[in-house]
Amino acid sequence: MTPTRRRRLLGALVIVLGVAIAAALISMAFRENLTFFFTPSQVAAGEAPVGQPLRLGGLVVPGSIERGEGLGVRFAVTDTATEVPVYYEGVLPDLFGENQGVVVRGSLDASGRLTASQVLAKHDENYMPPEVADALRAQGAMPPHEMVR
């Protein structure tokens, strides 16, 4: 390799490395802002702000869904460690249901209840035909929703 080419290659590597370091530093600085939602455990630990808009992510606790008047619905969101009660008035996405991953936007009140303005269903990475899902259920292995690591 000629000295000129080596110099150019070095320059290219410096660009890539420099940008990578800058990106890493920026993402560390904005760590909280890059996180799309808080988990119920983070809410319980007091990491989530009270009275300010935030997002909460977790699984819908089985048996916790209570339909109220009109479009009002109450349910609880869990990360298997702790639960947060949620109240929402509005249209729910198709995938919403028990044990389904959801991301809820709203604000916490002082008692730790979240009043939601938007409910999004979070799909997991599992895809399977209904027969396979049934077979898994028969073995007691369902549901595979494991969005909370």
């Binding site: 660009i15 729910l92 996405p93 269903a121 799909h123 399977m128 035909p129 595979p144």
Partner: protein, 247 residues
């Protein structure tokens, strides 16, 4: 091997060899994508949770893979163009950008169409979606830079720097679903343990991905040949080939 690789860099040699590769690549693209799409859209079973709506995966995921693959191809060609000043690498980087941009737009559009019924929203600013949108802007910036500078060799060098800067975004896209809590789900196929997608649904996905890759190859060679003709216009070998084509 090295000698053989170098022989490709001559515009005339590349023009002729690429011309011979075109037909096989187009056939591969049509056959693989055709089988994959029919298999995926009609024969593969519906998902247990999403029903038939999951079938958009057969366009969305291969497009998203291609969006990243084409970018890495473009950036590699740009590096070769920047360091070794190989004209052919300049052509390949320049001509792959629009194809990558279209794949990125397709991934974003199909994801949005799926997101509305499944998530309940067309768009969220989570790390995955935002970093893919940034990828689209990187492509568009590269294309804009290429067309803003009349001197093609100068444009190639300027574009190469931009392409290399954008490389940092590729691992961010891939690992965004791991590093941060995102609304977008994690990887189903490219992960260390077994794919989280049933084999009956996975095979058509891989076929479409192979088909899209062939399509990229065919389209790239086609575009690169035209660009080479434009760059080499006035040379004798160009005149010879155009005369043959006319007869």
């Amino acid at each position: 091997m090295n000698k053989w690789l170098h022989s490709w860099a001559a515009p005339m040699v590349f023009y002729d060899r690429a011309g011979r590769l075109l037909l096989p690549l187009w056939m591969l693209a049509v056959v693989l994508t055709g089988i994959g799409v029919v298999w995926g859209l009609f024969l593969a079973p519906a998902d247990y949770l999403q029903g038939d709506a999951f079938r958009i995966i057969y366009v969305h995921v291969p497009s998203a893979w291609m969006a990243m693959f084409v970018y890495m191809f473009m950036a590699s060609a740009a590096l070769v163009a920047l360091v070794w000043r190989v004209k052919l690498a300049e052509v390949l980087a320049r001509e792959s950008a629009p194809i990558g941009a279209v794949f990125t737009a397709l991934a974003l559009a199909t994801g949005s169409l799926w997101g509305k019924p499944m998530w309940g929203t067309w768009w969220v600013w989570d790390a995955r979606l935002t970093s893919v949108l940034l990828l689209l802007f990187l492509y568009l910036g590269f294309i804009g830079l290429q067309s803003a500078i009349d001197d093609r060799r100068l444009a190639a060098r300027a574009g190469a720097v931009l392409a290399l800067v954008g490389v940092v975004n590729i691992p961010i896209i891939h690992y965004s679903v791991v590093w941060w809590n995102t609304l977008h789900q994690g990887a189903s196929v490219s992960r260390l343990d077994a794919p989280a997608i049933d084999p009956s649904m996975l095979w058509p996905l891989l076929l479409v991905a192979a088909g899209f890759t062939s399509y990229f190859g065919a389209l790239l060679l086609l575009r690169a040949r035209l660009e080479i003709l434009a760059r080499e216009a006035g040379r004798r070998w160009v005149a010879e080939r155009l005369q043959v084509a006319e007869q």
